[in-house]
């Protein structure tokens, strides 16, 4: 088990907490404490928005250990809106809809589990950005798509046995 290893990076993995260089203003992710642009110390935390776009992507068919159950899955380099590139999986996406430049947004998901009994490791992934909303929300009537409860004489008897489904 590698609990401490994951625990100490929770801030960056759960919510993209990086750093900003107090000297030159560069936004840094993952945090590295020394600004890669001006090489000054940079420890000021900075929360990234999670918005970005796909810089490149690939689909993994031969996964490393610990990721077998997710295969095939898509990995990407994402250019964050604030500047840095980040390596992450894409999720909730079909391979054929991905393109370089596709807008994406960060979500926190299960990265892997440390075996069946070990801890769950959560972290950032990216998914297609929410489509830009169109006009005003639909009226209540338009949203109503509730069919009448089904009446099927043949199935009625069976229904009786399985009807109550709640928690």
């Amino acid at each position: 088990m590698e609990v401490a290893r994951f625990w100490r990076t929770i801030g960056q993995r759960y919510r993209l907490i990086g750093e900003v260089c107090p000297n030159c203003g560069k936004r840094i992710f993952p945090p590295r404490d020394v600004c890669p642009a001006c090489e000054q110390e940079a420890r000021t935390p900075f929360a990234f928005s999670g918005k970005g776009e796909v810089y490149s992507y690939s689909t993994i068919h031969v996964p490393p250990e610990g990721f077998e159950k997710f295969a095939p899955y898509v990995v990407a380099l994402v250019r964050l809106a604030e500047g840095p590139l980040v390596t992450a999986q894409l999720t909730d996406v079909d391979e054929d809809e991905i393109y370089i430049g596709m807008p994406v947004e960060m979500v926190t998901r299960v990265l892997r589990e440390d075996g069946e009994r070990g801890m769950l490791v959560y972290g950032y992934k990216f998914r297609p950005a929410r489509p830009v909303r169109g006009d005003a929300p639909k009226s209540a009537a338009e949203l109503a798509r509730v069919p009448e409860p089904a009446v099927n004489p043949v199935a009625e008897a069976k229904q009786a046995a399985m009807q109550a489904v709640m928690a």
Binding site: T108, R130, L143, V146, P147, Q163
Partner: protein, 351 residues
Amino acid sequence: MKPSRPVGITGYGAYVPRYRLAGQAVSELWTDGNAQPPVREKAVPGLDEDVATMSIEAARNAIARASYADPAFSPAELGAVWVGSESHPYAVKPTSTIVAEAIGATPYTQAADWQFACKAGTEAIQAAIGFVGSGMAAYALAIGMDAAQGRPGDALEYTAGAGGAAFVIGPAERALVEIEGSVSYVTDTPDFWRRQYEKYPEHAGRFTGEPAYFHHIIASVTALLRQMNLSARDFAYAVFHQPNVKFPLKVGEELGFTREQLRPGLLVNDIGNTYAGSSVIGLTAILDIAQPGDRILLASFGSGAGSDAFCLRVRKTVAAKDVWTTQEYVQRRTPIDYAQYSRMKGNYKLN
């Protein structure tokens, strides 16, 4: 029940995973298509989703709306992060600390997981009303979320869905919705349960209907209407726990609510029964379209059994154009077949 100072919902947010399994697929596999599915389809969480990740997303949406409604608000002001669910990822270890960390509410906050079958979410809301209403906290986050389990082939498998909602509870004067009053009604009625270490819940068949679902909701709502001196006609919308399409329509009818009042909050046909998230995600769909002045009735049901009923009144609305609406989640759907569903449920052992 009323707190000593008025409280309301300052932000709300929903989440529904994108995968959908048709009820017909379950029927075909286990009954040769003879059984009539109680819902058209249900939402299924992806391989990298669980109640913690879904709660995080709903919470982020709620926080985003709360920030529009109340620019002074920040997640660090949340005095509590409470997650109600019956599918917490860990048997022991809070979901709520994961959520609190992911939204930036740590470390000076209360965090706890709630459990009361399908009313764990409204239970967290009740507690948040007390916490904020007493002045112990400025804001509290209450979440109802589930990735529900149903035994393969069981009646529950048709409907056991995934999704839920999060609410920032805060002072009424800054809220989108004022919580005017509430009633909780519980008895020891074992209509549905899951024993320790069991993977799937058991249910008492038709006993879950009249003595459980209907009795408790009717009791809580009737008491609430009496307490508030209101009748069904005073509400623009009502939302009940929705284990299937039939029950909420029927209980609404018995309480004097029309189908028009129920329809915007009735999502079960599209996303299934989201258990602790079921009634509260219906509420978010209503809040997306409600107008100032509208009264909304919310009544949950949790097996075991109890019902929390709330009388809500919309104070103002926010555009929050960059936040997912509930219907956007509902309409974002990727159909899957039973084999994919089985894989997502972890039914195939890889090692």
